[in-house]
Symmetry: C3
Subunit: 143 residues, 3 copies
């Protein structure tokens, strides 16, 4: 269910971009423990001047491989979010030689009522999809 | 006030896209009971490989008419959200022959302080716009 | 840390757009009191029909300079948000002659665990970046 929006600088070919989307999806599936068919991705390509990312003093250098990833998801435990950051960075590095310094991720949370995957229905409310939000929140509360 | 971002696959003409935006707006006005002039829409067109949507096992087939709709809104009752999903799907189907299997909606909520509609003012705080957030939350709490 | 997405109508040259991004960044730095290197911006350019903004009855006229600004940020006090709206509008007006009637801002909040600025780490959790969310919330609570 996470909906992932990815913004990159134009100049990479379609093969690179497809592999980039695949790598991010594999990271989401593993970090958030969702089904492989839970894939919802939107890619935007930009002119270099349209993406601006400095480093908040962290000492990172951004290149033409800059990849900004916005994730909208129901609540997830902090550990799952940290796994997501690690896995995205690992897979983009291993498969596409994207430096970890070029990968930025921002997550925004919503709730079960906020999703319709088709047919005008809210599948987490109708029971067509399992609604595990409470479980995820319990896990957070236990810590 | 909802701000709606719509992502579609390139290949439809401007007339189709204008009617698509109109259909979504009509659904928002009716489902959320907002004024007709409460229209804020951003459309992105994509190459086919830039939009990836599977089905989380629901059995839906996505086509070149895939329409991903992201809604940012102050809190709304669950019933209003469900009405929104139904009306968007109905209007896109009736007017543009878009299958319900091609329509995905994701909502993210924010608050009254999070909006400025112009002139650098937060119109829900200044009283220039009615702030009915509390009413909406009361409606949710009553259930 | 705020991540800023800006949507404008195509037709302005790169110099105008760079100055627009600079003006918005200066407003963010001053209103939210963040470091100058806390800059994360994504610009989208659109055909005129792809951006639709009416006025919810406020009496504003939108032109080809329409600028829709989406901000994702950790929680900020209401006063900081209002300062942001004012400063963005002032700077876009003073530097680019953009009317205040053309400037729309929408904020969505997330939390410290929701950010990774590089290297697969959640820098607000690791301590690499100061986590002042609680302070900001205290400021809100004091009012």
């Amino acid at each position: 269910m996470p909906l992932i929006t990815i913004d990159v600088i134009r100049g990479h070919d379609e093969d690179y971009l497809v592999r980039l989307l695949d790598a991010i999806h594999d990271a989401v599936v593993e970090a958030f423990d969702v089904p492989f068919t839970d894939r919802y991705q939107i890619l935007h390509q930009h002119e270099p001047f349209e993406l601006r990312a400095l480093d908040t003093g962290l000492g990172y250098t951004r290149t033409q491989n800059l990849t900004i990833i916005k994730v909208t998801s129901k609540p997830r435990p902090t550990e799952a979010k940290q796994r997501l950051y690690e896995k995205i960075t690992t897979y983009l590095g291993d498969r596409l030689e994207i430096s970890g310094e070029d990968v930025i991720v921002s997550i925004t949370e919503n709730t079960s009522a906020d999703w319709s995957f088709g047919q005008g229905r809210a599948q987490f409310l109708t029971g067509e999809l399992p609604d595990d939000t409470q479980n995820a929140q319990d896990k957070v509360a236990e810590k």
